[in-house]
């Protein structure tokens, strides 16, 4: 299964390099086909690895192979090590599976863009980086994959590089993620100092032995910093909504289905470290709960269709953090997978809407699209129901499993359970607000004027087929694990991350009943306000302003970090660099010129005199050195 894991990595990398080097020698369409094929190969390789691993005993499913020593210093060595185990294979399947659908969709969506080749090279590079992240067999390689997916995210958010807002959003995403990279690196330095190694096994053993010590807590905090930045959780969440500047399929693949969920993967992969630092683990769960409500509230007032979905992504990852932080690892991963399906579906269906409306993303100019785009409407509705956790769609099974686990995790878990329920209500409300605004009611003037219907041309076929497959996925993906009845996924992941909580049947039932009830209540309220128009939104200006400014995080960070940084830099340039560092020499220069005039008489023009003087000077210095020694 290791060769398959390598193929899974190298196939998209090869495609990316090939497209870059070939330049204009291949057509735009060919670049799209090449990228899609390479990602499909990656998926097949992941399936082969999956089948191979199923053929083994469940205790013997982890392979660690080192290709070569990547970095070394004395007896400290870090290899280019691949780890193939149930968790990494699970992630590989999700990434390359959803990835191949989304890259295929892009052939249609990006048709006619004049820099398609660059787009597909970046996408393929991402599908190389993400498996590298999940297959990385030690902490350093994990960080390498971590950084490379961040790089791809930067490249793709800023894909429309002539748009200032896209460039700014790309930079913001990169820098906030660089902050997370830095906290992770610091955690690894501490680990190196403690154990001289960055192997997972060594780190986990040490964590177990040093449980509760400040060092373990710091390492866990550093890891959490990285996870929070990558997964856009409070307090490092502000880059994700801006990241919607990227093309819609990018939002679907990177900023919904895969990369942003890497933080959840990290929490599960390094669970032994977090279990040795229970307070930090609780903090992770708490941040997740906080984020899921915060994002749900902000989503209520967004008018851009992609931003609503972006906030729902933050909110859903909040659920995953909640689950992983409370030790319900398999349930968090389960939700990660179903979320990949239904969120990719929502984004891609939104992409069709945007495409059909000539690039319009403002929901206030949409409306009544269900008659024009009936199949898209159906797909979007399936995605929305899955997101709201309505049975039998996939989100129901995975989200309720997390909530049930929370019920089993003591008073803290029950508190977070209540928060999660509030989130379920908000999810139903904001999701169906979006559904009714976009598809319900009468066609808006803008829509009547601009809409162009899908036809049977190749771009539309690519988009239609991939969305169709994802629609099926968003329905059935949840059925692979039904609480209390069967749990193959939990069994598969069990050897990697043993859950800390096991909810009982009653807890499952309570969680499901409450969550579905509240989700339906949210949908009902959305119907009352946005479809039936029986109720209107209360004005509540201060609250509205608070939500529209996303709780003023951007403004606060601007004043706390960016502006002081700029002031400091300007101040240093004006007060230190020019007058002191540069000026000292100008002073010397002026002094030298003045002195030079006076000493000019010493210029006899005789080289021997000069030589003598220089020798005397050096000798004096030498004497001084000998003397003061």
């Amino acid at each position: 299964m290791t060769p398959a894991a390598w193929l899974c990595l190298l196939s998209p990398l090869g495609a990316s390099v090939l497209i870059t080097l070939a330049g204009t020698r291949i057509s735009r369409r060919a670049a799209g086909y090449l990228a899609t094929a390479s990602v499909a190969v990656s998926f097949v390789a992941a399936v082969v690895a999956f089948v191979a691993v199923l053929g083994r005993e469940s205790e013997n499913r982890s392979d660690l192979t080192t290709a070569w020593t990547w970095l070394s210093a004395g007896n400290f060595e870090v290899g280019l090590t691949l780890l193939v185990d149930p968790l990494s294979i699970f992630m590989m399947l999700v990434v390359s599976g959803v990835g191949s659908l989304i890259v295929g969709y892009s052939i249609g969506y990006m048709d006619g863009d004049d820099e398609e080749r660059r787009y597909f090279a970046y996408m393929a590079l991402f599908v190389f980086s993400m498996p590298l992240l999940v297959e990385g067999g030690n902490f350093l390689l994990l960080l390498v994959g971590w950084g490379l997916v961040g790089l791809c995210s930067y490249l793709l958010i800023g894909y429309h590089h002539d748009r200032p807002s896209a460039v700014a959003a790309a930079k913001k995403a990169f820098i906030m993620n660089a902050f997370g990279d830095a906290t992770m690196a610091l955690a690894f330095f501490l680990l190196i100092q403690r154990i001289g190694s960055l192997e997972f096994a060594a780190g986990f053993d040490w964590a177990e032995g040093a449980e509760g010590s400040w060092a373990v807590n710091l390492v866990a905090l550093g890891l959490l910093g990285g996870a929070v930045a990558k997964s856009a959780q409070v307090p490092l969440q502000t880059w994700l909504p801006d990241a919607m500047e990227g093309p819609t399929p990018v939002s679907a693949l990177i900023h919904a289905a895969t990369m942003v969920t890497a933080g959840v993967y990290l929490l599960v992969r390094t669970a032994p470290v977090f279990e040795a630092a229970p307070h930090v683990q609780d903090l992770a769960a708490g941040l997740g709960a906080f984020t899921l409500v915060l994002a749900g509230l902000i989503a209520l007032v967004q008018v851009d269709i992609k931003r609503v979905i972006a906030y729902s992504t933050m909110s859903q990852i909040g659920y995953m953090f909640l689950g992983a932080g409370l030790g319900a690892y398999a349930n968090a991963m389960f939700h990660l997978m179903t979320h990949a399906f239904f969120k990719a579906l929502l984004f891609l269906a939104a992409g069709i809407v945007i495409h059909a409306l000539a690039g319009e993303q403002d929901m206030r100019r949409m409306g009544g699209l269900r008659r024009v785009l009936p199949r898209t409407w159906l797909a979007f509705l399936v995605g929305s129901l899955a997101l709201s956790g309505i049975p039998p769609f996939s989100g129901f099974f995975s989200k309720d499993a997390i909530l049930a686990s929370a019920l089993d995790a003591g008073w803290y878990g029950q508190l977070l359970f209540a928060v999660g329920l509030a989130g379920a209500f908000l999810t139903g409300l904001y999701t169906f607000r979006m559904v009714f605004l976009v598809f319900g009611g009468e066609q808006s003037a803008y829509a009547r004027e601009h809409v162009h219907r899908p036809d049977r041309s190749e771009p539309w076929v690519w988009m239609g087929v991939t969305v169709g497959v994802l629609t099926v996925g968003a329905v059935v993906a949840g059925w692979i694990q039904i609480a209390g009845i069967w749990h193959p996924l939990a069994d598969f992941l069990h050897p990697v991350a043993e859950p800390l909580v096991e909810p009982s049947g009653t807890q499952d039932a309570i969680a499901s009943l409450l969550a579905v009830g509240l989700g339906l209540a949210g949908i009902w309220l959305a119907w009352l306000v946005y479809a039936d128009r029986r109720m209107t939104v209360p004005a509540a200006r201060p609250l509205r302003a608070l939500l529209e400014h996303k709780f003023y995080f951007d403004e606060a960070y601007d004043w706390l970090f960016y502006k002081p940084g700029v002031w400091l830099a300007r101040g240093l340039a004006a007060l230190v660099e020019r007058p002191v560092v540069g000026g000292s020499l100008t002073g010397i220069g002026i002094g030298a010129r003045r002195a030079g005039g006076e000493v000019a008489e010493a210029q006899t023009g005789l080289v021997r005199t000069y030589a003598l003087v220089i020798a005397a000077g050096v000798a004096t210095l030498a004497l001084v050195f000998v003397w003061v020694r």
Partner: protein, 509 residues
């Protein structure tokens, strides 16, 4: 008797003489110089293949008496790390000569002769195993630079040259005095044979020269002007190669011969290095032009390298050597890219640039690739170097690593600014429609540099494993590092995981 080191030093010098002395026509002087530089690269590759990284001590050693009564000899040879720095030198100088040839320089014979002479002098600095010889090469390296900046530079070249001369002369004279006193007190000028010294003043004499030349904060007054006013390829050599000669001096002389003073002054130097890292990064972030960003980022990177050198353990040292090579390649590529952009837009002001990505895929790809490597994205060789350096200096105190990590974030900020200012948004007022993409000649110069960086990214251990004799620290000692206190275990040093800690080392004066 192995002549390889001598050939590496004197092949370019001989080339310089040939270029100077014969009346070559305009184009052929440059072509000949490039040929010699490429031959030098070939000789270096040969040396790399023949180099026994498992061996203890000097390779390609050659020694001839010079002034026998003073124990001065012509003594050259290479350690692993000096071989890598030599490789950096010959590659960057070949690229610089190629760049000069491509953009056309006045008085070509003088110009190319000086570039070749400079190559030989820098290689000589890395090869010299005798202090006096080291000093000779050191001065031989500075003189062509004065001329190259002063004659072929931009409008403000005169002021830049004066600053550069004053700063480096002051440092050099201090070093000369230190060399003489050290050699006389040791009864030998040989770097391998001589023992340690505990003299703080001698240490400071050497350290001042190296700190000025690197430069280290706050002795960088000459840097912004010199990097802005010299021609791009000379700036590339200055920041890519010559600065490495200075930090090499720290490594070969200051650390090895002055273990006691190094311990005493460690915190001071670490403070200056960390300050330089943050200060340089902040100024790079607000610099108004391309060269300013690269210049101040150089200051920051040299601070980082110094952090590694004075971390006092293997991780810091290995990381520092790797980062020296990385930064040499990165900053050379950045300066030459900046030069190419300035040729097209007639300005390096960020506000007047922009939008160059559209229609110029080669330029966009190279600026993006170099910029991304420069900001040390995880996975790049620069990241590997920074990681080891910070992991090393973490052991001196976690605060250093925190400052270094802040430097990583700041590096992302200024490099992204560089990239965006050139490539992104609407075309700036200075960027005309018909500004061309990179020409094949420019690609021929830049692609090998970026290619080296990518190759190192795949396998940074190629350098970290092969800088100091392999693996264990005790073998390091045998490799000529007898003087470096934290390496000898019998000095009461304690091995702690990666590094070795030696709280109190004193050698009799």
């Amino acid at each position: 008797m192995d002549w390889l080191a001598t050939i590496l030093v004197f092949l370019p010098v001989a080339g310089a003489l040939v270029v100077w002395l014969f009346p070559w026509p305009r184009q052929s002087a440059g072509a000949l110089a490039l040929l010699v530089a490429l031959a030098e690269v070939g000789v270096w590759i040969n040396a790399l293949i023949r180099f026994d990284f498992g061996a203890q001590g000097l390779e390609f050693e050659q020694r001839t008496e010079w002034f026998s009564d003073l124990e001065v000899s012509y003594h050259v040879g290479f350690f692993g790390y000096s071989l890598w720095l030599t490789g950096l030198t010959v590659v960057v100088l070949a690229a610089a000569i190629g760049y000069g040839l491509w953009s056309g320089r006045d008085r070509p014979r003088a110009y190319y002769g000086l570039m070749l002479f400079l190559t030989g002098a820098v290689v000589g600095v890395f090869a010299a195993q005798d202090l006096l010889l080291f000093y000779v090469f050191w001065e031989a390296m500075l003189i062509p630079l004065y001329v190259l900046i002063g004659v072929w530079g931009g409008a403000g070249r005169l002021g830049a040259t004066i600053k550069f001369v004053i700063y480096t002369m002051a440092g050099s004279l201090l070093m000369l005095a230190a060399v003489i006193v050290f050699g006389l007190s040791q009864n030998t000028f040989d770097l391998v044979d001589s023992g340690r010294s505990g003299s703080a003043w001698l240490f400071l004499g050497f350290a001042a020269a190296f700190a000025v030349k690197a430069p280290l904060f706050p002795l960088h007054g000459w840097l912004p002007d010199a990097y802005r006013e010299s021609s791009p390829e000379v700036a590339a050599v200055l920041s890519g190669v010559v600065s490495k000669a200075a930090v090499y001096g720290f490594l070969r002389i200051a650390l090895e011969k002055f273990p006691g003073p190094v311990d005493d002054f460690r915190n001071l130097i670490l403070v200056l290095a960390a300050a330089g890292l943050v200060y340089g990064s902040l100024l790079a972030f607000r610099a108004p032009d391309l060269r300013g960003i690269v210049a101040y980022s150089s200051l920051a990177q040299l601070g980082l390298i110094t952090l590694g050198l004075f971390a006092g353990n293997q991780a810091g040292l290995d990381g520092a050597v790797l980062q020296m090579v990385n930064h040499g390649l990165v900053s050379a590529a950045l300066f030459m890219l900046a030069g190419g952009i300035e040729r097209r837009a007639a300005t390096g002001e960020l506000g007047r640039l922009g939008g160059m990505a559209r229609g110029r895929p080669a330029l966009a790809t190279l600026v993006m690739a170099t910029g991304i490597i420069a900001l040390a994205v995880p996975g790049a060789t620069t990241f590997a170097g920074e990681f080891l350096i910070l992991a090393g200096v973490f052991r001196q105190g976690w605060g250093w690593a925190v400052v270094g990590a802040a430097g990583i974030v700041l590096a992302a900020m200024y490099m992204l600014r560089f990239i965006s200012a050139v490539l992104h948004q609407e075309p700036g007022p200075a960027v005309s429609e018909d500004a061309l993409d990179l020409r094949p000649a420019e690609l021929g110069i830049l692609v090998p540099l970026v290619g080296c960086l990518l190759a190192l990214s795949v396998w940074p251990a190629a350098i970290t494993d092969r800088s100091f004799s392999p693996g264990a620290t005790e073998r390091l000692e045998a490799a000529g590092w007898t003087g470096y206190a934290p390496i000898t275990a019998n000095d009461g040093c304690v091995q702690r995981g990666l590094g070795i800690s030696c709280p109190e080392i004193r050698t009799a004066p």
